[in-house]
């Protein structure tokens, strides 16, 4: 039996594009860890991030608690004229996204470069 990877979320503020943060996630985003990601996302917005790029490559599991945090972050950043871009979704997370229709709601990219390009365009508006 493979041990579950502990949840982790690390934020990095980018100099360019301006007002952009990258958050790298790993492990299980479930009912017991969703509040930790929520705090990191709130911290990113508090520090002035208008655009948030979420690296989901290391995220191996997501439940509805995690989905609600992502949706709430998207709503709040868009209300402030920004957005949340997701990239490098793992297969289990992509499957859940497809199930609940999030794949058609979020801007999702294969790579960080693609997400950065979209962030640059939004930052230039």
């Amino acid at each position: 039996m493979t041990a579950a990877v502990p949840f982790d979320a690390q934020m990095e503020m980018l100099e360019s594009p301006a007002s952009t943060a990258v958050i790298r996630t790993a492990g299980r985003l479930d009912a017991s860890t969703a509040s930790r990601l929520e705090r990191v996302l709130t911290d990113a917005r508090t520090k002035g991030s208008r655009v948030i790029l979420l690296n989901l490559e290391g995220l191996e599991y997501i439940s509805s608690s995690g989905l609600r945090v992502l949706l709430s972050a998207r709503t709040q950043t868009r209300q402030a004229g920004g957005d949340v871009f997701l990239f490098a979704l793992s297969q289990p997370v992509r499957e859940v996204f497809d199930m609940v229709g999030f794949s058609a709601v979020f801007n999702i990219f294969d790579t960080m470069d693609q997400a950065l390009q979209a962030a640059s365009i939004l930052a230039g508006k």
Binding site: M1, A31, S63, S64, E95
Partner: protein, 149 residues
């Protein structure tokens, strides 16, 4: 037929999710589930437990939660969750519809929707307990989830 059965009697608290998940995964492995299908079982059980914690017990700590697992190797996994919280009527619950815009009230109902997607059968029952159900004569909810291999 090779069977595995186990019962976990615990409290409806988020800190119990790991114990519950471990039991369910043990049973699911016995059935023969692996990979993405194991993920489906874990997710459905977490959603069911969180509905009990957040709605049946309205996040009050200490509510009774019983998890029964029954595995028939190579055939099916049955998971039964029993709680003594507020009755749950799936017909009157908010229904998530992924074809509708994801705003406002559409942000609720993910859990039940996922459970329906991930499991082959869901049965919600509500009744008055017998002595076996440990709810001290209180009404109880019983959710039966089945996933076929």
């Amino acid at each position: 037929m090779d069977r595995f059965e186990a019962v976990l009697r615990t409290s409806a608290h988020i800190e119990q999710l790991t114990r519950i998940r471990d039991l369910v995964c043990t049973a699911a492995r016995h059935t023969g589930f692996e990979g993405v299908h194991m993920n489906h079982v874990e997710l459905a059980v977490e959603e069911a437990c969180m509905n009990i914690i957040n709605h049946a017990y309205a996040r009050r700590e200490g509510g009774y939660l019983e998890v029964q697992v029954r595995s028939e190797r190579g055939r099916r996994l049955t998971i039964v969750l029993i709680d003594c919280g507020q009755s749950f009527d799936p017909a009157s619950a908010c229904t998530y519809d992924p074809s509708q815009p994801l705003e406002g009230s559409q942000q609720v109902g993910f859990g039940l929707y996922l459970m329906r997607c991930l499991m082959d059968e869901l049965k919600f029952e509500f009744g008055v307990t017998s002595s076996e159900e440990r709810c001290s004569g209180q009404p109880f909810n019983r959710l039966t989830m089945v996933k076929n291999l």
